[in-house]
């Protein structure tokens, strides 16, 4: 592991940059009228989050984020948008009135405040640590995947198997739903 004395500063700086990137991208995402641009801004958010995951010592999750979310799911979204030809302005039927928007914004702020209060109230000193703690990534034997794979295939094996069934059901359901009626 790198033990440079500037490393914490560099780390913190990068963390803030990508956090800001994720925040800004998501704000753009919700404000775009066009589904295509919205989707692209969401992809941007996801990339930024993937970076944050890696920085938080969840390298495997970061890679999965890019592969599954940004790569697969968002592509499917864009694919559907294009397939249905939804890029036209006639489909932009969002709420235009300011009242509901303000209320929605107020609700959002309230929600944030509540979440933060709840997250911070059992304030743990460890939450404020800015240095890199001895992380899971440093654990030797299984590499970076081992710590995730361990519980996944032992403790949560049943859930894992059920998830596979869920995916199968989802595939069948999607095929049945999207199939053209004869």
């Amino acid at each position: 592991m790198i033990t440079n004395e500037f490393y914490p500063l560099f780390y913190t700086f990068n963390f803030y940059v990508f956090a800001l990137l994720a925040l800004m991208s998501s704000l753009f995402f919700v404000t775009r009228k066009s589904p295509v641009s919205a989707a692209l801004w969401l992809v941007s958010t996801m990339f930024a989050l993937a970076v944050l995951y890696v920085m938080l010592d969840a390298e495997f999750i970061g890679i999965m984020q890019i592969l599954v979310y940004a790569g697969a799911i968002m592509v499917v979204f864009l694919f559907v948008v294009m397939l249905l030809n939804l890029g036209q302005p006639s489909e932009f039927s969002d709420i235009r009135k300011n009242g509901p928007r303000l209320v929605a914004g107020f609700l959002g702020i309230l929600l944030t405040a509540e979440l933060l209060t709840l997250a911070w109230s059992p304030l743990d000193a460890r939450l404020l640590v800015t240095t890199v703690p001895p992380s899971v990534a440093t654990a030797g034997a299984g590499g970076i995947i081992g710590p995730v794979a361990g519980p996944l295939f032992t403790e949560y094996l049943l859930a894992f198997e059920l998830t596979s069934v869920l995916l199968l059901v989802a595939i069948i359901g999607a095929v049945v739903l999207a199939k053209k009626r004869s």
Binding site: A19, F29, L52, L84, V148, Y156, F160, V169
Partner: protein, 97 residues
Amino acid sequence: MLAEALTLSAVLFAIGVVGVLTRRNAIIVFMCVELMLNAVNLSFVALSRLYGATGQVFVIFVMTVAAAEAAVGLAIIIAIFRHKQTVSLENINVLRG
């Protein structure tokens, strides 16, 4: 860094919620839900540094469910679009009681 990560998670979640509330395009609403899921994932990952890798296991589950949900949800949207020629939620009220 955890405090910042959790704060970001909360803010992203709220942004997703506001999006769900204000947007009327079904696909965008869907994407807002994905954003909310991502926000939650961030919390999982952040806290996994404190509590062990189990949080990351749950992120994997969330991703799987999100993938399944996207598949079925988009299929539903396609079916609705075929039927109504629109994906605006205002025009979709077949569930009216």
